[in-house]
């Protein structure tokens, strides 16, 4: 019998919600770079006598994300206390949701490994508070001996939505696609900035491997699952899972067994290491938080949120492919983020040919953005201007080479009127008459070549290409090469 080892992956994604204040107190959520323990109050420090009051916006954002992921939203939802001791948890319980989450039973589609769309089921989306931060060296980076850790509660109480998938993911690549899709969605929705490096989107993976009979497909053995933490980029998610699947498969193939444990992804070394095993598993003693009345999600809120949902990325991709005839990859690229999609559509609305516009955005716009570290919103070339430029190229009035030069000037902040002459281009392009004149001049100046061609000594058409090149040079690329060689052939034929 030959065996096949099939990975089973489920992901838990924690998304920091884009609220101005924390989930249960009015402290600012703007903790990046803030002095430790400045965005704190009696509530998020867990002072005796303080009480949590839920932030309305956090619920609204949770509902928005839940609806976008096709979840069912509960009309009564309850917060529970998850009790455990840790210094970053000031009340020694985390206010989270347990058996009555805000949203459940959703789905999202990703490009599967077989190229076809794959449905990943979303188990639930619930709201909870973030913990504070533990720092193991002093603020100046100095290790303060090995004796202490330091606690900063600025992040404590920042609202999180935890999105849990069913174990529908079957490869590291799919996992990466799934995370990318979730990240894209929450960004589209304005629910979170989804920044993995800064920790506003954090991924934990549950992965196991099942041993099957290659021929019958029968499952012979389910390996125990491990949870992987500390994957801080899409690439890390993919690499960590690749590593872990190989590790687990290796253990099973050698007849070994796996234990349920939490493992830490070490990005530098490219390995996962064991953090804690199941023996240490906590008993969280969940119970409904008596300080927080159940949240009523009204039909009204659901309706208004549903109506205010933006066109979601997958719908936009479909529309770009259908309406504008973009190839799938281009459609996905244009729909990747909301600002890019808006830019692209604005270009098209201003008369640019969709395919060419998409091409320009993918190449030139992104090149300049990356070089200059700009965002789409602050990009100096307005989409209407790019549309004009693209139209000039499309109309054969500007060669791609010159247009690129013009674009470089535009990106420096010049207007199109100034950029065209600066790149040596004629604002109106070249007329047919202009081209005829240039051909005349070239023929006149190259009488010997003309003679050779006319006497049939250019079987491979090399010489006519040479003449075409000369004309193009004179035209600074603003003429269409095929048109020029057409004119040349006609004129050379005339004199025979």
């Amino acid at each position: 019998m030959t065996f096949r080892y099939i990975p089973v992956i489920g992901l838990e994604i924690h998304v920091q919600l884009s609220t101005a204040t924390k989930i249960f107190c009015p402290c600012s959520t703007d903790y990046i770079g803030a002095e430790p323990n400045t965005n704190v109050c009696p509530v998020c420090l867990g002072l005796p006598g303080s009480l949590p009051v839920l932030n309305k916006r956090a619920v609204e954002l949770g509902v928005r994300a839940g609806l976008a992921l096709s979840c069912t939203i509960r009309n009564h939802t309850v917060f529970h206390r998850k009790n455990y001791f840790y210094p970053d948890l000031p009340k020694a319980y985390q206010i989270s949701q347990y058996d009555l989450p805000l949203a459940e039973g959703g789905e999202i589609y990703i490009p599967g490994d077989d190229g076809r769309p794959r449905r990943i089921r979303i188990t639930r989306l619930h709201l909870e508070e973030d913990a504070g931060k533990l720092v193991h060296s002093a603020a100046d980076g100095r290790l303060e001996g090995a004796a202490f850790s330091f606690v900063d509660y600025n992040r404590g109480g920042v609202p999180l939505a935890e999105i849990v998938s069913e174990p529908d993911i079957t490869s590291p690549r799919e996992a990466r696609e799934y995370v990318a899709r979730i990240r894209q969605t929450v960004r589209y929705l304005g629910v979170s900035d989804g920044d993995m490096e800064r920790g506003s989107l954090r991924v934990d993976a549950n992965v196991s491997v099942k041993k099957t009979d290659e021929t019958s497909g029968e499952v012979l053995y389910w390996g125990e699952r491990t949870e992987i933490k500390n994957m801080n980029s899409l690439r890390a998610v993919e690499r960590a899972l690749e590593y872990e699947i190989i590790r687990q498969t290796g253990v099973l193939a050698e007849g070994g067994s796996l234990e349920r444990e939490t493992r830490h992804w070490n990005d530098g070394e490219g390995i996962t290491t064991s953090m804690r095993s199941k023996e240490a598993a906590n008993d969280y003693r969940y119970f409904p938080d008596p300080d927080i009345p159940p949240i009523v999600v009204t039909e009204e809120l659901l309706e208004s949120t549903r109506n205010a949902l933006p066109e979601l990325p997958w719908a936009k991709e479909r529309r770009f492919a259908g309406e504008y005839g973009l190839p799938e990859a281009d459609a996905a690229f244009m729909a990747e983020s909301l600002p890019v999609a808006l830019y692209f559509e604005e270009c098209v609305k201003n008369g640019a040919a969709p395919l060419r516009a998409a091409n320009w955005i993918r190449t030139e716009v992104f090149r300049v953005m990356n070089e200059k570290g700009l965002s789409m919103d602050s990009f100096p070339v307005k989409p209407s201007v790019l549309a004009e430029l693209v139209a000039l190229v499309e109309g054969g009035k500007l060669s791609t080479t010159v247009a690129r030069e013009v674009f470089a000037h535009l990106a420096e902040g010049r207007s199109l009127k100034d950029a065209l002459p600066a790149a040596g281009a004629s604002p109106g392009g070249l007329s047919a008459e202009d081209v005829e004149k240039m051909v005349d001049r070239v023929l006149l100046a190259n009488g010997d070549v003309v003679e050779e061609i006319r006497s049939g000594r250019d079987p491979k058409g090399k010489k006519i290409k040479f003449l075409t090149g000369l004309v193009m040079k004179e035209a600074r690329g603003q003429a269409d090469a095929a048109a020029v060689s057409g004119i040349l052939e006609r004129r050379l034929g005339e004199g025979r």
Binding site: T19, A20, T21, C25, P26, C27, S28, E35, P36, N37, T38, V40, C41, P42, L45, L47, V53, L54, N55, K56, R57, A58, V59, H76, V78, F85, P87, L134, V135, H136, A138, A139, E144, A146, A147, F148, S149, F150, V151, D152, Y153, H264, T273, M275, R276, D283, R285, P288, P293, P294, I295
Partner: protein, 103 residues
């Protein structure tokens, strides 16, 4: 209702309470008394004097809750006082015995 010393130790562990050896036995008896008292419920249910079938354990919905909080930041003034009175502090951090990152 039988409670073992092991139960008491386990619960003390969860609650992060150091319990002295001599406290264990009285705690076992206390647990038995409290939980034994509660067992009258089971008896009453068996005798049909107490029917909990279909009873909603959380009648939360009866409460009149104030509206949820608007998302408007307010800066709290307690920070300096709290840090000044912290058991142990380094700059503006609270200090705890070192925890390994993997812990």
């Amino acid at each position: 209702m039988t409670i073992s010393e092991k139960d008491v130790r386990h619960v003390a562990d969860l609650a992060r309470l150091r319990v002295e050896e001599k406290e264990i036995e009285p705690l076992v008896r206390h647990f038995e008394a409290i939980l034994g008292h509660f067992a009258t419920l089971s008896r009453a249910r068996e005798e049909g004097r107490l029917n909990l079938d279909g009873v909603d354990p959380f009648l939360f919905s009866e409460r009149e809750a104030p509206p949820l909080r608007e998302d408007e930041p307010v800066r709290s003034a307690v920070r300096d006082d709290v840090l000044a009175a912290a058991p142990e502090r380094k700059d503006s951090f609270f200090v705890v015995p070192r925890i390994l990152e993997e812990e």
